[in-house]
Structure formats: C-alpha cells, structure tokens
C-alpha cells in the first residue's frame, strides 16, 4: 500500500473512537501490541534526544526500501510509533522523506507535533524523515 492509502486506513479505524480517552485507549492498546521491548534497540546511540520519554530509532535499507525499527519506554509513544511505522516502514526512502503527513491531524494528534511538545512526536517524525533523506540519492 502507498503511504497515503495507509494513512486513510488509519483514519478510518481511529474514527470509531469519538472522545480523547477512547482514542488514547486505542493508542495504548497499539502500544501494548507493538512488540516486546527490544534490548538490541534500546541503546544510547539510537536514542532520539528531545523527548521526555525515551525513544529509540534505527533504519536500514533492504531491497530499496527503508526498514525502520523503533521503541519507547512510554506506552502512548509506542502506540504513536506503531502508527508511524505502519505508515513509513518498508516504503521507498524518497517517499518517506517527502510524504505529506495528514493522518496525525485527522485523528487528533496534530498538537503532538509542535516542537515544544514533551512527547517529541514532531522530533520523531523529523528523525525518520532525515534518516530517509540520508538513504536517498
């Protein structure tokens, strides 16, 4: 699926949850299902600075596609990472670098993008895009 198609899918799924608590409940569930903590990933060198919770991110290229791995000690952040990786993982790096990211807005996470947010979602998105850019051209 394309980045846009995945975003549309997420928007549809999340639109079932009307209020904030439901939406975050869903996010937390996603976080729980995101996989076991991976110690090979939870290393200082992979840590993104500027988030209050710890966030780790790595990327490599496989078959011309960007393969992302990420983790966090925060459940909510893990939920957000689950969504972000669903959108960005296994996509061509050029698309990752340039894709318009509208689903966060649509599902009510937009305010999390501002640079002063403690969760650093904006910082994570920026880190993913920069990684992608390094792997293009």
């Amino acid at each position: 699926m394309t980045i846009a198609e995945i975003q549309d899918q997420i928007i549809e799924e999340m639109s079932a949850h009307e209020d904030w608590f439901d939406r975050y409940e869903a996010l937390i569930t996603l976080g729980r299902e995101f996989g076991a903590p991976d110690d090979s990933l939870r290393r200082d060198e992979y840590r993104i600075s500027g988030c209050q919770s710890a966030v780790w991110l790595t990327a490599e290229m496989r078959d011309g596609r960007l393969r992302l791995r990420a983790d966090s000690d925060s459940q909510i952040t893990r939920g957000m990472l689950a969504l972000l990786l669903r959108v960005f993982d296994d996509q061509p790096p050029g698309k990752v670098a340039d894709a318009e990211l509208y689903f966060l807005d649509a599902i009510g996470l937009r305010s999390n993008l501002s640079p002063s947010r403690a969760n650093g979602l904006g910082t994570i998105v920026r880190a993913i895009r920069e990684t992608a850019r390094r792997h293009t051209g």
Binding site: Y24, Q52, A54, D73
Partner: protein, 424 residues
C-alpha cells in the same frame, strides 16, 4: 483537621480556567506559581502610569520608578529578615543568582592574582581555587549543581557530595566527615523540589561555620511556603525566584551577608554598577548596585513586593499550616489509591510529593491526568542525581501552593485512578 484551610482561589484568575472541559486543578507549583490579581494589576498599572528607567534620572517618572524599586528591595529585606538593604541583590532568578555567585567566587582573578576591578575592595582570600572543596547534596536542582561543577573544573577545586539516606533525607551523620577544613562552600537546597523534604539548614550552617565554610541556601522551594528568616538561619547566601512566589517572571534575589558581598567582585559588568569608567579602569558602585549591571527588571521587582505584601496579609505561618495539612492529606489519599510508590519521607515536608504508578511511565500518566484537568509535572525535575538515588528515570510530582484545597487533591486521586485503569 481541615481547620487551617485557606480559601484563596478566587484571587487567582487563571484558576477559573477549564482544561479539556474540566476545571483546572493546578498542582505544578514547584515549577511556577500562578499570580494573584493584585500582582497582575500592580504591574499593569505600573506600566500605565509610572514606568521609566531608574539609575538616578532627574525627571519625575524616573524618580518614581527608582523609589518603587528601592522600596521593593526594602520589602524583600524585611520579608526574609535580612539586616540591611545592601544585602539584597536583585537578579533574574535563582539560576541567575547562583551563576552570578559562582562566577564572583572564582572567576574574577587573572591567573592567581588578586581579583580586579576595584582591586583594593576585594579579598582574594574569598576566591575559590585549586584544591578547595565545594560540598553539594545529592538532592540539588541542576541549577544548584552545574554552576559548582563548572566552577570546580575551571578553578581546579573539588566537588564533594553529601549523600542521601534511602528515604531521601540528608545523611547528617556524614556531615562532620564531609565538611573538612578544605571546604569553602556548602550549597544546599532549603526544600527539595522533588520530595518536598525540608533540610535541617540551621544545623548544616553551624557545622559549616565551625569549619570556616560558607553556606549558600537555595530557597526557591521555601520562600512561598514557610516563614524564612536568614538571620536565624545564619546562612551566608540565600537565593530564590519571584515567579515561584506569586510574582512575575524575570526577578530573583541573591541575599548575601554584607561582609561576604563586600569581599566579592562583580561577575557581571556594564551600565549602572560603576561610578566612573575609563578605557582602562573603573570605580564600582557600592552594594548592592555593584552586582546589578544593566537595566534591572524594576517592574518585576515591584511585582515581587506586591506578592510579598499579599503573602504577608495572609501570614506565612498560616500558609505553612494550610499546606502542611494539605500535604498530609495528599499523601494519605495517594496511599489509599494504592499501586504506587511515594519517594522520600522526612520529619518535615513542604510543597511537593513525588511518586510513580507501578509499571507505568510518568509521562503516560501525566498525559492522562492532564485530560482530567489535573496539572502535574513529570520527568526528572532537573534533579537527575536524585532520580538515580531512587533508581528511577523520572516520576510524577504534585506540588502545592497556598490556593490549593482538598478538592484539588481529590481530583488528583481521581486522575491517578484513571491513569491506572487506562495504562495498568
């Protein structure tokens, strides 16, 4: 038990705000306090009618501003029980005050020479140098740690740390071992900004003075919550921030005993702190102006004086009792909720309670609690060594001020339960 209750919320316009459709329960007072209407209006009126730069202008507005600025200094002096207005130096805040002091204590010499500027006025003995020791505690805010770390590295001095007991209190039995004849300064917080533990400052001062060491007390978390009297504490320096005691931002105080301040060269220089200047030299103004280079934040000083008058109308002792009662109630309620750990316990507390919900990241809990209208702070609270002491990455901190009431605490308990149910 609730007889000491104050009822002050209506003095603070922001407390009428709603957050996500719920009334605000503001429990982030250790970060900054809200401002009563009288303070907000005082500053607004000042700018509408009096504002003008001070520093001996001859026109009327300038004289009015100057007078109000010096009146504010006198108000601060009386509030903390200092003997003399010359002992009250206005700074931009606590961090600024500590940095200013750290620089004055060690960075005004030219490689071993006497400090310069008005050379004859200072004592080079007052400068901290090679082999000297500075003692901090394991619970200091970064603002009372990093400046001393840096000073030690710059001057070849040694940073020592007074360790903590498991319950977060100072290891007082260690004191006589840790304060040695080489100790030049003990830098200690009056109240922990995380655990709310009140330190036995008077005892520390006695020990330090016995060994000839000076004591700086970081009063950032004390002045808004309890009577503070620097004369009876007998500390050499005391610092605090206006914004944590109901005044506007951008003002703080460095109190120093006159004899101590006289020995120190100004570490920040510029307009206003000199009486004459040539390209090669200068003559410096007397205390306290010597330490106030540049245009001071005189409107914020006026706001600080107004905040102090507000506190005095209520009475610091009543405030202390009210907060004590609430603090106990908060601990009780949290214990009742269960499934959490409270960090630190001591004979005397003030302000903050730090805790973590079992198996839940503080950040996650804070997000949910915010949605419940409860403002707490999460993270390391600029006290990472203390986090390491408790072996945690961070925690939730709920911190009180005079306007909080049992309703805020009940809301806190409710929000904690909600976070547990969503995240647990």
């Amino acid at each position: 038990m609730m007889n000491a209750t104050l009822d002050l919320k209506s003095d603070f316009p922001i407390l009428a705000r709603e957050i996500h459709g719920r009334p605000l329960a503001y429990l982030d007072n250790a970060a900054t306090t809200q401002k009563p209407l009288c303070v907000i209006e005082r500053v607004s009126n000042f700018y509408r009618t009096r504002n003008s730069n001070i520093h001996r202008g001859v026109h009327s507005l300038s004289e009015e501003s100057s007078t109000l600025y010096e009146d504010a200094r006198e108000t601060v002096r009386a509030f903390i029980g200092a003997g003399d207005m010359r002992e009250i130096v206005f700074t931009a805040g606590t961090t600024d005050a500590i940095n200013l002091l750290a620089r004055a204590l060690g960075d005004c010499t030219t490689g071993g020479d006497a400090p310069f500027g008005d050379e004859t006025r200072y004592s080079s003995d007052a400068q901290i140098g090679e082999g000297d020791e500075i003692l901090v505690t394991g619970m200091e805010h970064h603002s009372n740690l990093l400046p001393w770390q840096d000073l030690c590295r710059r001057r070849g001095a040694v940073l020592r740390v007074l360790p903590l007991e498991r319950n977060g209190t100072l290891h007082m039995e260690d004191i006589s071992r840790r304060i040695t004849s080489r100790t030049r300064l003990v830098a200690v917080t009056h109240v922990s900004n995380v655990t709310g533990i009140v330190n036995p400052v008077e005892e520390l001062v006695r020990h330090a003075h016995d060994r000839g060491a000076l004591v700086l007390v970081d009063g950032a978390q004390a002045v808004a919550h309890m009577p503070v009297d620097v004369a009876s504490l007998d500390c050499d320096f005391y610092v605090f921030s206006g914004h944590k005691m109901f005044a506007e931002n951008g003002i703080g105080v460095l109190y120093g005993k006159a004899a101590r301040l006289e020995e120190l060269p100004p570490a920040r220089v510029g307009g206003g702190m000199v009486t004459s200047v040539t390209l090669e030299s200068r003559r410096e103004a007397d205390l306290p102006l010597r330490f106030e280079a540049g245009t001071p934040n005189y409107p914020a000083a006026v706001s600080l004086a107004e905040a102090i008058r507000y506190l005095q109308r209520i009475g610091m002792q009543r405030i202390r009792e009210h907060e004590n009662t609430l603090h106990e109630y908060m601990r009780e309620q949290l214990v009742k909720v269960g499934g959490l750990t409270v960090y630190g316990s001591a004979p005397e507390h003030s302000g903050s309670v730090a805790f973590n919900l079992d198996g839940i990241q503080p950040y996650d809990a804070g997000m949910i609690m915010d949605r419940m209208g409860v403002a707490v702070r999460t993270g390391t609270h600029c006290a990472e060594p203390l986090m390491r002491h408790f072996d945690i990455n961070g925690c939730i901190r709920a911190s009180l001020a005079l306007y909080n009431d049992t309703d805020d605490i009940d809301r806190l308990a409710e929000a904690v339960r909600k976070a547990q149910s969503m995240l647990g």
